[in-house]
């Protein structure tokens, strides 16, 4: 389940006023989340939650829901 904090971090980084993000949403479906911006979004999420991802961990995420789960796992460690 996508948290409000998680969604807000993404929208802020991409300068979007609003956009619906669900577990199954793909990064490529979010306006502005392209290959050039991808790492900026990841860094923004890392900063917001005080976590660090390895590239390979992010690579294995199939959708934004997986990325949220990754954040949750890191926070619980």
């Amino acid at each position: 389940m996508i948290s409000e904090k998680f969604k807000a971090a993404i929208l802020k980084e991409l300068k979007l006023s609003d956009f619906e993000i669900q577990d199954s949403t793909l990064a490529s479906q979010v306006p502005g989340w392209d290959s050039l911006n991808h790492i900026n979004v990841i860094v923004a999420i890392e900063k917001e939650f005080g976590v660090r991802f390895k590239s390979i961990e992010v690579l294995k995420c199939k959708n934004i829901g997986d990325l949220q789960k990754l954040v949750n796992t890191k926070l619980n460690q």
Binding site: K15, L16, S17, D18, F19, L26, S28, Q29, P31, G32, D34, S35, L36, H38, I39, V43, R52, K54, S55, I56, V58, L59, K60
Partner: protein, 565 residues
């Protein structure tokens, strides 16, 4: 050694260095899969047999739409071995609407006459509807499912005959430029063009059997296909191929492969230098060494000196050397390379007076504030000639800016089934590139483009495609849109900006319109970075009656009031 065809050269490598690694197929987080020259060619022959069995004839165009796969390489070679013509097409980005994807292939098919599509079963629902749309496409094949143990003496004899009858002038491959509004140009290259290019370009970078190429470049792009795949494969050296989709999400993969495989060569568009320097965290680089990297060749978009310096500063502690920074100027129409900087020498940078440059004269100055730093793309390689011409295609003296025209022994055979476009750019054996540049100290400097093509991360984007998309968005006044590229120094590349006329006046209305434009872009795989919404009749028209990109770009950049944040 003299070879008639590229297949002959592959065969020579398979016999001469059977156990040498030809291709290392890189997979993030897994052990790479390694093709040796002999096994690769044997498997390619198995694909050729299956092609014959499936009725594919010599000379037919076989489009390949397959994501990073271990069997991509022998399939590609097997198409060549069956006398057919391979054409690698981009794998659909998930953001691209299936209708748009089909429109792109339909456009290519109508222009270049694609005969068959070789793809994955998972793409069948997206691609199959094309067969009912009156295109030249005869059918789909799923070669990854083929039985490669199949053999047939009769078919093998037919293949042997096809191969021995092939001539150097025969078409070898087809490449398509990007674009979705019918602007794609299919570039046809012969065996001879490829073979000569392998030798001439190889010489310009001091290619040796000890070299090892590391590449994440897509194989539908000339830099990926020719420089990082064909050149090493024909030369008999190893290339490591990384999935481009994985690389953009994890740029560290290039450095990991370079370090672990002890790579020596790579080709990169300029934005990749910034991305690698800025976006790879230190902890992911632990234990990596880049000492073996002898050339990092910057190509496909304007070379920026500051990107080079940023990269050097970041990676010198890991063994990356300044002498490895390199640049070249290349295009699909000349097979690939035209100029290349001298290996081991940092590309020359000159400070040219910006105003004088705009007026067409190169004047070297010391004052950085007045200057534009121009980076050399190097000297003309063997087998090529370059001249700078004016609007009437008359050569201008050294030190003057003009269009770059090229003569090459590896010149393309024209745009397939597009004689009028070929005639526009090819005259008396010279290719008129549409790029602006100058010659200084025998080196070529490319500083701009005649046309308004936007280059985002090495990918050519036609403003017409973006304007077409945005014009159709409800709320935008149709036809009253201009798209242009603007430099993003942080990213080291251009980004797409759009100015659209609208009658929307309220803030909420404009925000909704901004989102609608962004989403329309996404559905067409176009990322629009900046949107300026302007009132009706704001756009300046050119003498031809169309909104002028240059004039409107200058006008809108003077006033940020219209930028939608």
């Amino acid at each position: 050694m003299k070879f008639n065809t590229v297949w002959d050269r592959w065969q020579y490598n398979a016999k001469n260095t059977p156990e040498k690694e030809a291709i290392v197929h890189w997979l993030a987080g897994e052990e790479p899969v390694r093709w040796k020259f002999e096994d690769l060619l044997k498997t390619a022959n198995s694909f050729s047999l299956q092609l014959k069995k499936n009725g594919i004839e010599a000379g037919q165009v076989c489009a390949i739409i397959i994501r990073h796969n271990i069997n991509f390489y022998p399939l590609y070679m097997g198409i060549v071995g069956a006398g057919a013509i391979p054409a690698v097409l981009a794998y659909p980005n998930p953001r691209l609407h299936p209708d748009k994807f089909r429109d792109g292939i339909k456009g290519m098919s109508q222009r270049s006459g694609l005969d068959w599509i070789f793809t994955e079963e998972s793409l069948e629902p997206i691609i199959r509807p094309l067969l009912d749309q009156h295109t030249s496409i005869k059918g789909l094949h799923f070669p990854l499912q083929w039985d490669l143990s199949f053999s047939d003496t009769g078919l093998q004899e037919e293949l042997d005959t096809i191969r021995s009858n092939k001539k150097p002038e025969d078409p070898f491959l087809l490449q398509h430029s990007s674009g979705t509004t019918g602007l794609q140009k299919p570039v046809l290259l012969s065996n001879k063009a490829i073979l000569q290019h392998v030798d001439n370009y190889g010489e310009s970078i001091n290619f040796s059997p000890e070299d090892k190429v590391i590449s994440w470049l897509p194989l539908y792009h000339d830099m990926g296909l020719i420089a990082a795949y064909h050149v090493p494969l024909a030369y008999g050296i190893t290339s490591v191929q990384i999935d481009p989709f994985e690389w953009v999400l994890a740029p560290v993969l290039l450095l990991e492969a370079m370090s672990k495989e002890k790579g020596t060569l790579s080709w990169l568009p300029n934005f990749a230098y910034n991305m690698l320097a800025d976006k790879v965290p230190d902890d992911e680089l632990e234990g990596f060494r880049l000492d073996t990297w002898r050339l990092a060749i910057n190509c496909s978009e304007p070379v920026r000196h500051e990107s080079h310096m940023r990269f050097l500063k970041r990676f010198s502690n890991y063994g990356f050397r300044q002498s490895a920074l390199s640049a070249c100027y290349a295009m699909a129409e000349t097979t690939y390379g035209v100029t290349q900087t001298t290996p081991g020498e940092l590309p020359a940078v000159i400070l040219a007076d910006r105003q004088k440059l705009a007026e067409g004269t190169v004047e070297i100055v010391d004052d950085e504030a007045k200057a534009r730093a121009c980076v050399s793309s190097g000297k003309v390689i063997k087998g090529c000639k370059v001249k700078i011409v004016d609007e009437k295609r008359v050569e201008v003296p050294t030190g003057k800016v003009g269009e770059v025209a090229i003569w090459s022994v590896s010149m393309f055979d024209g745009y397939r089934n597009y004689p009028e476009k070929t005639a526009e750019v090819l005259e008396d054996g010279w290719f008129y590139s549409g790029d602006f540049g100058f010659i200084h100290n025998d080196e070529c400097f490319v500083i701009g483009r005649k046309k308004d093509i936007i280059i985002v991360a090495g990918k050519n984007i036609y403003p017409e495609d973006i304007e077409d998309t945005v014009s159709k968005v409800t709320g935008v006044i149709p036809g009253r849109v201009v798209a242009f590229g603007s430099d993003d120094k942080e990213l080291g590349t251009e980004v797409v900006s759009v100015i659209a006329e609208t009658n929307a006046a309220e803030d909420t209305e404009k925000r909704k319109l901004k989102m609608a434009i962004l989403e329309a872009g996404i559905n067409n795989d176009q990322n629009i970075s900046k949107i300026y919404l302007v009132p009706s009749r704001w756009l300046i028209k050119s003498s031809a009656g169309k909104p002028s990109r240059k004039a409107n770009k200058e006008r809108v950049l003077q006033n940020n009031d219209f930028l939608m944040e």
